[in-house]
């Protein structure tokens, strides 16, 4: 087993200008349109990620928040190599991984694991739990004996709070929380360093959410794991993260340590988002009400992607795309208003 990534000063994961575009225009014939009496070929694309850059240091829990369709899941999948990026770079442990052949990517696949939102869909319904857990182990460690594999699976099963008896059962025999434990076990079984967890608790009830969150936090402590945690539930994010990135329409608005972000949000969108979080036992405070609707990522707005809904947008925001700039206290914000000191 590899030693956990030791150098805490260098980022474990570094993402530079990452872009991802999905072509949704279908076949050649679907792309044909008639314009001014002329037949043209036009592609319809979804700009899911626009030049996203960030670093994750070892041991961090880096959360990505944003509303549905903002590109946070795409970001997770592109980082881990499930989608090839259309631009930019992904570095892991100092090595660029987005261009690696699948054979050279293999060791990284073991070190980077993913947990999905819907354990119903991500577990093969026809395989027993034991097979589900053994499969990645055998794949990444072909030299392990059957006994070693069995021991390792049992060990992980106990770590995630499961029962050894679970191993002989099929996924549908479990509740949602139990299934999510199994998928976390599947990620942990190969002893990874870095886990991308895409909405791992969204499908679960409150009391079960707590179980899974605790499990994730325990695993982080015991194994020195680094997380990229994708979620829309801000109070959960606030609870477990060290740093938070806020996404809107495929772009990062703000990246900050969790304390700073929740205490002093800079970006107008972050402010609106935070004000909307329902808080237990607090009567309705004033929500920042955004104007308009979320535009489609097919036709991205010019300038700042948020300008159409921003209460503070001015002419520059319509024209110029704001850079993600570092503030005095280390908070990164992509907002002309913040830069200009207007906000």
């Amino acid at each position: 087993m590899n030693a956990p990534f030791s150098d805490k000063t260098k980022p474990l994961l570094s993402v530079r200008d990452l872009s991802k575009i999905f072509d949704i225009s279908g076949g050649f014939l679907d792309q044909l349109t008639l314009k001014n009496g002329r037949l043209r070929r036009e592609k319809t694309t979804v700009k899911a990620l626009n030049r996203v850059s960030f670093d994750i240091a070892p041991g961090e829990t880096f959360s990505v928040v944003g509303e549905s369709g903002c590109g946070k899941s795409t970001l997770g999948r592109t980082v881990i190599g499930l989608y090839p990026p259309d631009g930019g770079e992904v570095h892991y442990g100092g090595e660029r991984i987005d261009t690696l052949s699948s054979r050279r990517m293999l060791p990284f696949r073991r070190r980077m694991q993913m947990v999905f939102q819907d354990p119903y869909a991500s577990l093969n319904p026809r395989k027993r739990v034991a097979a589900i857990l053994e499969e990645p182990l055998r794949f990444h460690h072909p030299d392990m004996t059957a006994d070693e594999v069995g021991d390792r699976v049992k060990e992980v099963m106990e770590q995630v709070g499961g029962d050894v008896q679970w191993l002989t059962r099929l996924p549908h025999e479990f509740s949602g929380g139990q299934r999510q434990r199994i998928s976390i076990a599947r990620a942990l079984v190969v002893d990874p360093e870095f886990i991308v967890a895409d909405e791992p608790i969204s499908a679960l009830d409150v009391s079960i959410q707590a179980q899974i969150l605790n499990l994730m936090m325990d695993a982080r402590e015991q194994r020195g794991l680094t997380y990229m945690f994708i979620a829309h539930d801000l109070s959960v994010v606030e609870h477990i993260s060290t740093r938070v990135a806020v996404m809107y329409l495929g772009s990062l608005c703000e990246v900050a340590d969790v304390d700073r972000l929740f205490a002093d949000p800079r970006h107008p969108y972050t402010r609106a988002l935070l004000s909307a979080i329902p808080r237990l036992g607090k009567k309705k405070s004033d929500h920042v009400r955004l104007k308009g609707e979320v535009p489609t990522p097919i036709n991205l707005p010019t300038g700042c992607v948020f300008h159409g809904r921003c209460l503070y947008a001015d002419e520059r925001c319509v024209r110029e795309i704001p850079e993600l700039l570092k503030q005095d206290d280390g908070v990164l914000a992509a907002c002309h208003g913040v830069e200009e000191g207007r906000l």
Binding site: L29, D30, Q31, T33
Partner: protein, 324 residues
Amino acid sequence: MVAFIIRRIVQAFLVMFIISSIGFAIKHNVGDPVWQITGISVSKAERERIREQLGLNDPVYIQYINFLKNAAHGDLGQSYFYKKPAADVILDKAPATLELVLVSSMIIVVLSIPLGVYAAIYPKRIFSRVVMGGSIVGVSIPVFLIAIMGVYLFSVHLGWLPSFGRGATVNVGGWRTGFLTVDGWLHLILPSLSLSSIMLPLFIRLIRSEMMEVLESDYIRYAWAKGLKKYRIWFLHAFKNTLLPVITVGGVQLGITIAFTILTETVFQWQGLGFLFMEAVERSDTALLVAYLMFVGMIMVVVNTVVDIIYGVVNPTVRIAGTK
């Protein structure tokens, strides 16, 4: 819309090309047409001469290239038996089949909708169970048997309906129709019922299961919660949504009905395309065979197009593919 039309045209050509290739590939397995157009005592040498004349001794690819060349000019070859251009024969016989399929489709629609809807709304009632049981029986009886039983009951035994053929037809602008005479309608009853017996049970089951699924949906529950009257919920809210999958599946199925006319038309000596095809196979009338396949392929494309358009009309969320 432009893309839609272009795509359909391209698709039609592609279908024609593929089907004609398949037709060509199988035509040599259908048998040697020369045997069918000469008496058996004709000498081998004579037969060989005819074969040479008809170009049947050319390599298959040459024959195919010649065929494509002619097809590009709208000439699909000569029907050996009818001694006419195959395309003319097809167009001549198409009205009979199209009328038969049309009436069968109407029967299917008119019967399957009320029965399927009823069985979905009241799945436990005796009548629903009878309908569903009957539909299983209907699916399992071959159409040929249904047709023959129909003939023996209604023509031979009761003497109510004619046993074969189209009866009196009227030529309206080159379209020979049986719709304009009482006799024509009488002749249509048995064949169209037999033909519809294939798809009717499927449609009843399809409509029932789709309707039952729709009735379970949130928006139907919501419609109840709005205090709407049940008929509005069933026949507007639920039925319109039931129609969507039924149109998609049903449109294709009705297209397939054309293929089933082969059986029905043979039994009823119904002089349409299905009958023609059967005869073309038996007579090794290969040009006709290929022309038939191409025509049916084209009908399928047309049916698909119509289905897509209807679907787009009924379902506001899907405008015709290619329009954005």
